[in-house]
Symmetry: C2
């Protein structure tokens, strides 16, 4: 049953070629010929393995997000097993997110670029995929609130979305505009924000 191994390898090569090109140029600007060439494969092979260009893209998205949410979940779980607090788990997830993005920058870029588009064929695929990721963070936040570790005034869905966004954008920005910084620098800055040592904890003033 290693006939499927060969196919698997071809599909993997196509994913890797497609993710880079689409991240750089966008979906429409990337041609199937380019993808095939970069993967070192004939054009016909692309169509032997995927029904169409957009199907290739959708499967690529599912594949990548699977890796990301698995990595986040694993980080949270490990932190739990080591007896860390829930805030520690959040911190561990931030780091896991950064490591992932460091390893697969193209995928992250493409994900951010496509996530909020309306009217596209794969919009529903992306919605599913987003929920899967944000849900991991929501679960930890909810557990932290229930155990009394975090205040009840926290809005779990909004805070989860904001945290995910913070990590995503900070990491992309780091890679694109401040590549000289280390992963630890970035992690440190985000930790400070999460742990509340930026705003200093003054009470909310009714704003001007």
């Amino acid at each position: 049953m290693e006939s499927s191994t060969r196919r698997q390898a071809t599909r993997q090569k196509l994913y890797e070629a497609a993710v880079t090109l689409i991240a750089e140029q966008g979906f429409s600007a990337t041609t199937v010929d380019e993808i095939a060439e970069r993967a070192g494969v004939a054009k016909g092979t692309v169509y032997y393995n995927f029904a169409s260009k957009s199907v290739l893209f959708e499967e690529l998205l599912r594949h990548g997000v699977g890796l990301l949410s698995a990595s986040l979940r694993e980080a949270a779980q490990k932190s739990d097993e080591n007896g860390g607090s829930k805030v520690d788990a959040l911190d561990a997830m931030i780091r896991a997110g950064l490591v992932f993005i460091d390893e697969y920058p193209a995928f992250t870029q493409l994900y951010v670029a496509e996530l909020w588009r309306t009217n596209r064929a794969w919009q529903s695929t992306l919605a599913v995929v987003r929920n899967e990721t944000v849900a991991v963070v929501e679960d930890v936040l909810r557990a932290a609130v229930e155990s009394g570790e975090l205040s009840e005034e926290i809005d779990v869905p909004l805070t989860a979305a904001a945290l995910v966004g913070m990590v995503l954008v900070a990491a992309l920005d780091w890679q694109a505009f401040q590549p000289e910084r280390s992963l630890d620098d970035v992690h440190g800055a985000l930790s400070l924000l999460l742990q509340g040592r930026v705003g200093g904890g003054q009470p909310l003033t009714g704003k001007a």
Copy 2:
């Protein structure tokens, strides 16, 4: 000499048509014919007013980011004049960012989608435009550190990027996936994060 007024109006219509379409579909997937039709103008008019499709897009970017950074700067200044702290100013900028995105969601979406792409013609335009925005936040952070209001351990460039990202992504996510929430809800969640009432201020643990 109101001929230039007419041109101005045409260009404005083209900006509005283009920003929506490109946000929905992306730059390459949007045709010049579509833009012209949506603007209620002939295709030739597009080329009478702009040298090419990408030039139209670049000028659109400059136009939009001008509005955004002006709005942020104004919010920070007003907060200062009213005798607020620097953290208040940051909070006011968060709100200004949310209001802007609420008003021009298409522009924001398009900005986020294109910002981290490499290899594109307008990449340098975008870099300039990003710096302009992030710089506003950096200035306030730096002032807060200098006045002793914020700790010196804060990494200004990274924190500024993270804050901008947090607002951008939280707002887009709000519009796309949680539209039933109010602007105040979102602002509240982000304020809590900024003011450090999420993580509870435990010391950093050397992570697992």
